[in-house]
């Protein structure tokens, strides 16, 4: 562990380590308990590797009954529990504590029901995001939220983080595409929330639980809405001479009344890194690139693209290109969706920010980030969901140099503070986790935090579930 303070392990739990492991072995099949030091190591972190902590044990339950047993067992012994999906969190959401049991849900990966007439699917938490779409694609359907990590991230984690994606501009984020959940509380009680119908009666538990980052319980089942795919989709690329001009173009598009399915932004370093990975034909001479996608029949696409071209042309684009084939569109998205990893080609380490700003402040905020980048002497690649103002500045640093990481952390905090000051928020889709925990005070007052903590108190009175995340210590 570096910089970020962590909760001290409970001595009484650490002292009972072998007893706890033996207890877990009693209630779970042998292959479901991992307790060897060597084997625990790869579970010490998620996709934010700057924070690491080897847990006390890892368990991999195979069904809800096992999850219930594990939670009852842990609650009885005051043992902390870290729910984990695919471990792709970018905010340390699945970071263990030394005295915690990590509950990995990846073995609960079955699709339980698909209903086309009523347009929903019931899946276990370990089903990957793209796995849902793949399961219904033959019938022409898809599951709309599409985080760039969709190949790997799991629906349980998506609900945990209320994940978004490039196509959320039109289709909404995870919370807008759910119908029901099953949640096991820390006391081992199974709550059924919602169902296969819209809008549950009573409080919106579904809304509260979505994005709660594993604070309220462990999800064992998720009912998602599935949608019929449009007739077709086409992406277009527009390169601009500066970040600001591209930002103005985004505002002009939204103001014109056209809501594209996706409206994504990349700056020059990002364009270069992604092109090296995807060979999508991104314009290497542009300072900023917009990826704009429209849907519908061939004619509808052409019509929309025509309107969008007209708008882009007002901003003197350095290049404009419409994908001619599905393969070209796929390559364009492959580059965008592989963007974070692709930055690994130009820098060994990065911190990915996730602030949101009002879109009208785009140009100004990007300029400020550029200035900070110069001041901190750290490069930044900007990749983000421009349509909804969700920024992902990737701060490049060298993890083998502690000073560089400390600088990167400060730089990140400054960017997020700027986002809040500009009228936005700390995180649009990646969550608070451990990374932004201490910044919560920038956005919320003490009484607001207290009100949130009170919800945690209700669901998890001992604060055993994923503690030391979300709320400042």
């Amino acid at each position: 562990m570096r910089a970020m303070k962590q909760l001290d392990p409970k001595p009484e739990v650490m002292a009972r380590r072998s007893e706890i492991i033996a207890g877990l072995r009693r209630i779970l099949p042998e292959r479901a308990v991992i307790a060897q030091a060597v084997e625990l190591k790869p579970y010490e972190t998620d996709a934010l590797t700057a924070y690491r902590q080897v847990p006390l044990a890892v368990v991999l339950p195979e069904d809800e009954a096992q999850v219930v047993d594990v939670l009852k067992f842990c609650a009885a012994g005051g043992v902390r529990v870290i729910p984990r999906g695919a471990g792709t969190s970018l905010c340390g959401g699945a970071l263990p504590l030394a005295d915690s049991v990590v509950v990995g849900l990846m073995r609960m990966n079955r699709i339980l029901e698909i209903n086309y007439a009523d347009r929903y699917a019931v899946v276990q938490p370990g089903v990957t995001n793209i796995g849902i779409t793949q399961a219904v694609a033959d019938a022409g359907y898809f599951y709309a939220p599409d985080p760039s990590s969709q190949l790997a991230c799991m629906i349980g984690g998506n609900v945990g983080m209320n994940s978004g994606g490039a196509h959320c501009l039109k289709y909404g984020v995870t919370a807008n595409n759910l119908l029901g959940l099953r949640l096991v509380t820390v006391a081992g009680e199974v709550l059924e929330i919602g169902g296969a119908h819209c809008d549950a009666a009573g409080y919106d538990w579904l809304g509260l639980i979505t994005g709660s980052e594993g604070q309220l319980g462990i999800l064992t089942e998720v009912t998602v809405r599935i949608l019929h795919a449009p007739e077709g989709a086409r992406a277009m690329l527009a390169g601009f001479a500066s970040n600001e001009v591209a930002g103005e173009c985004v505002a002009a598009i939204i103001a014109s009344g056209i809501i594209p399915v996706a409206l994504e932004f990349m700056d020059k370093p990002a364009i270069h890194a992604c092109e090296a990975f995807a060979h999508a034909g991104y314009p290497l001479d542009a300072q900023a690139l917009l990826i704009i996608e429209v849907e519908g029949s061939q004619d509808e696409q052409a019509d929309m693209l025509g309107r969008l071209r007209e708008i882009c042309e007002r901003f003197a684009p350095v290049s404009m290109r419409v994908a001619q084939t599905e393969a070209e569109s796929a390559a364009i998205w492959k580059g965008r969706k592989g963007a974070f990893g692709a930055v690994g080609r130009i820098s060994p380490d990065y911190l990915c920010m996730d602030g949101v700003i009002p879109t009208s402040r785009l140009g100004e905020v990007l300029r400020r980030i550029e200035e900070m980048s110069a001041a901190y002497d750290l490069r930044v690649a900007n990749i983000f969901h421009a349509g909804d103002g969700n920024l992902h500045p990737l701060i490049m640093y060298d993890a083998n140099d502690p000073a560089s990481f400390a600088k990167a952390e400060r730089f990140g905090a400054e960017i997020l503070t700027l986002c809040v000051e500009a009228g936005g928020c700390l995180t649009g889709e990646h969550g608070v986790g451990v990374e932004k925990r201490e910044l919560m005070r920038v956005q919320f007052s003490e009484s607001e935090l207290t009100q949130m903590r009170a919800m945690k108190d209700v669901f998890d009175p001992q604060w055993l579930l994923n503690p030391a995340k979300v709320f400042p210590l």
Binding site: A117, Y141, V190, H228, G389, G431, V432, S447, M452
Partner: protein
């Protein structure tokens, strides 16, 4: 602070305030409201203009706390698709301001409750219209809200940006909580441009079952159907498409091609039709009114199962939303509850005489574990139990 009592209050439905010794308290701003709450010593009915006072359980309180004195749009940025308004702002005012910029509320909240309903009330009751199935419910578009909790603390959750996962989503928890947790004082929500054109496919069918088949085919098509309703009276299914005129023409054509004898309505007729569906104009007048949400394929079963009790209605949301009206009897109510249960869904008693509303389950009861959590959640927001007690649940 304005404290009014007696007959002269225009903003509160007379029926409610008549019997209240504490009268109607109408704070002019949030700070004042927080002060009222801090000083309160007895339960209060929390409302905007009280248009939904007849929904769910009848309130029992000494006074009415109304947000009607806090009105006005405080932020509107059309290019960012965001509007913010004080809770007491009339829905009509909001809709007019949006229309002036060619924009609209995505969930198209129903005007069933009359012209006086406030944005705070629309959010607190999570009122959504036909577009809920494609564009989402009111709860999906509330980006942020300010509220005063039962301790009189002013809280601000969410924000004004389109995406936000910072902290627990108490915005969603408060949306649809009927003023039982906190008094919403200001709401920020997402809006969208009004589509250039609207088209409707009208398909005549034999019964509700066939209607749902048509609606499922429409909603399961690639043509972005944004409304799907069935009126048993006319035996007509309506499928709505909203987009640029060329798109609407094309998609209506493709959709109509799927169903023998389908007719296409143009923009003008379509708009009027969907307003009438939104506002339940086709619902026969009855002493009581319910709303049932089930999976779409279960909608026809609900209609069938309640008929014996003299309850009738129509289907929206592709069959998933059943609007019902009928006699305000226990028998009718039980029939609705049973039908919703059989369909695996939920019900709300939307309107009815106090005598009925006070004694029946106006919504399905929660499982015991959830009810226990809910009681604790209420206590954390409103420890003294002063906001709308018993509005949603008897205990």
């Amino acid at each position: 602070m304005v404290v009014e009592s007696g007959e002269g209050v225009s903003v509160v439905s007379a029926r409610v305030d008549a019997a209240l010794p504490g009268g109607v308290i109408v704070p002019r701003d949030e700070a004042e409201l927080a002060g009222v709450v801090r000083d309160a010593s007895a339960p209060m009915l929390v409302q905007g203009n009280g248009t939904k006072a007849g929904m769910l359980r009848p309130g029992r309180a000494a006074a009415v706390l109304s947000t009607a004195g806090m009105s006005g749009i405080t932020l509107y940025s059309p290019s960012e698709l965001v509007m913010r308004a004080r809770a007491g702002t009339a829905l009509a005012e909001i809709e007019a301001a949006l229309a002036a910029h060619g924009q609209q509320m995505i969930a198209e909240p129903s005007h069933l409750f009359g012209e006086a309903q406030t944005i705070g009330g629309v959010v607190a009751a999570n009122v959504s219209g036909p577009r809920r199935i494609s564009g989402g419910a009111m709860r999906d578009h509330v980006l942020g809200l300010r509220a005063v909790n039962g301790s009189g603390e002013i809280l601000n959750f969410g924000g004004r940006v389109l995406k936000n996962v910072t902290g627990l989503d108490l915005t969603k928890l408060l949306t649809g909580s009927f003023g039982t947790l906190a008094v919403i004082t200001e709401v920020t929500f997402k809006v969208l441009p009004v589509a250039g054109a609207v088209g409707t496919i009208v398909v005549r069918v034999a019964d509700a079952q066939a209607a749902v088949a048509v609606m499922s085919a429409g909603l399961g098509s690639p043509f972005s159907v944004s409304g799907a309703a069935y009126l048993p009276g006319s035996r007509e299914v309506y499928l709505r498409v909203e987009d640029f005129a060329e798109s609407v023409a094309y998609r209506c054509g493709r959709l109509a091609g799927q169903f023998a004898g389908a007719e296409i309505l143009g923009s003008g007729e379509s708009k009027a039709l969907w307003l009438s569906i939104r506002d339940c104009e086709a619902l026969p007048p009855g002493e009581a009114m319910w709303r049932v949400s089930v999976r779409p394929s279960a909608g026809p079963g609900v209609l069938r199962d309640v008929a014996f009790a003299g309850v009738t209605g129509f289907l929206d949301w592709g069959g998933g939303l059943v609007w019902l009206s009928g006699p305000a009897t226990h028998e009718a109510h039980e029939a609705v509850c049973a039908a919703a249960r059989t369909g695996g869904g939920v019900w709300w008693l939307m309107r009815g005489p106090e005598a009925l509303r006070a004694v029946v389950e106006v919504m399905p009861p929660e499982a015991p574990a959830l009810a226990a959590l809910r009681r604790q959640v209420v206590a954390k927001f409103d420890p003294r139990g002063i906001f709308n007690p018993l509005k949603m649940w008897a205990a």
